[in-house]
């Protein structure tokens, strides 16, 4: 164990005018994660606020910026930052206190695209699926809703009305699911200005995704679907079926 210095962005809305960085000493070895370090600091200063739960990259709670890059605290290690390390709250979200951000805008975008199986068919037999049908959407089903992709997305930073990477990737995931019949309900959200078309394929969302969901690919496949939907709508409105 060696002692080292880390910086943490602190902000208490009741006392501070704006966020500021404070430095702390932590004991670290090769196995010390950013989340471990934050918990050590909390022992020194119980007023430090941050979210965490599972410690194994499943819950998606401990998202923070590590040297200005969105990361899961539990999956990021101090050994990879030998020079300096500054932990700050996720970008593009309003800070509530210290490292805690308001995730409400993200959750609203998520619910808007109806990320659940839509199938009113009443049946007592299970909806079976072949491995090929599963493979179509499986990669996009690994999202843990951590919000790192929203912090990485410059378009979400410029326009918070943009549905954003995780929501659009999940819309694509359910649209690709052979058991789902809800594509027609989801397409208007994808077709909108704040749907897939705000994305300019920067691709940083896919780079920071801790579960390798590749939301940038999902959104750009969504653009093809939306373009097809537009062409079909022209035929439908002109009476051709």
């Amino acid at each position: 164990m060696t002692s080292r210095n880390i910086g943490i962005m602190r902000y208490n809305p009741e006392q501070d005018k704006k966020p500021h960085t404070e430095s702390y000493q932590v004991e670290a070895d090769d196995n010390t994660s950013v989340l471990d370090a934050l918990q050590q600091v909390q022992q020194q200063d119980p007023s430090l606020s941050f979210r965490w739960s599972c410690r194994m990259a499943i819950c998606g709670s401990c998202g923070v910026m590590v040297n200005s890059v969105p990361k899961l605290g539990c999956q990021t290690f101090l050994r990879d930052y030998p020079d300096s390390l500054v932990i700050s709250p996720l970008s593009n979200f309003a800070v509530e206190k210290d490292l805690i951000v308001d995730m409400e805008p993200f959750l609203e975008h998520l619910s808007a695209i109806k990320p659940w199986l839509i199938n009113s068919e009443q049946s007592t037999v299970p909806h079976v699926q072949t491995p090929q049908q599963l493979a179509r959407y499986q990669q996009f089903a690994n999202c843990i809703n951590c919000g790192l992709c929203y912090s990485a997305c410059p378009q979400f930073g410029l326009n918070p009305e943009f549905r954003g990477p995780a929501a659009l990737a999940l819309a694509h995931r359910y649209n690709l699911d052979s058991r789902d019949l809800g594509k027609a309900e989801r397409m208007p959200q994808l077709n909108a200005k704040d749907g897939v078309w705000t994305c300019t394929f920067v691709g940083f969302c896919s780079e920071v995704c801790p579960k390798k969901v590749d939301p940038a690919a999902a959104i750009n496949q969504g653009k093809v679907e939306s373009a097809k939907d537009m062409i079909l709508s022209v035929f439908k409105s002109s009476g051709v079926r």
């Binding site: 805008p105 410029l158 208007p188 909108a192 704040d194 749907g195 300019t200 709508s233």
Partner: protein, 127 residues
Amino acid sequence: MSNSGQQPTRSDEPIWWALFSAGGVCFAVVIPGAILAVGVLYPLGLIPGEMLGFERIRHLLFESFLGFAGFIFVGVAICLPLFHAFHRIRHGLHDLQWAHGWAAKSACYCSATLLSVIALGLWVAAH
């Protein structure tokens, strides 16, 4: 957040995105091919001079493909890349927060349309 029950209106972006995509392919395939032939191989003497001679090029541009080869070449080497470039400029202006919305969009695509009409017009005039 706009999460009301009302359906959002459809974006016209697929049209511009389709032109952008087509222009991207032309930028990647046709223009390097043209530069290679005219700008590299010909000056280096690797293709015979008569291949790019006046009579042959005139025949290629105005007589082959039912007389429309030149029209198609101007389309894929100038018009579609123009839409590709102006699409990037429009989104670049938005990213830099210099200009966005209806005015920037109109200025960009009107410029692409105008320059395309001039390019195709020159071909028609020379025909």
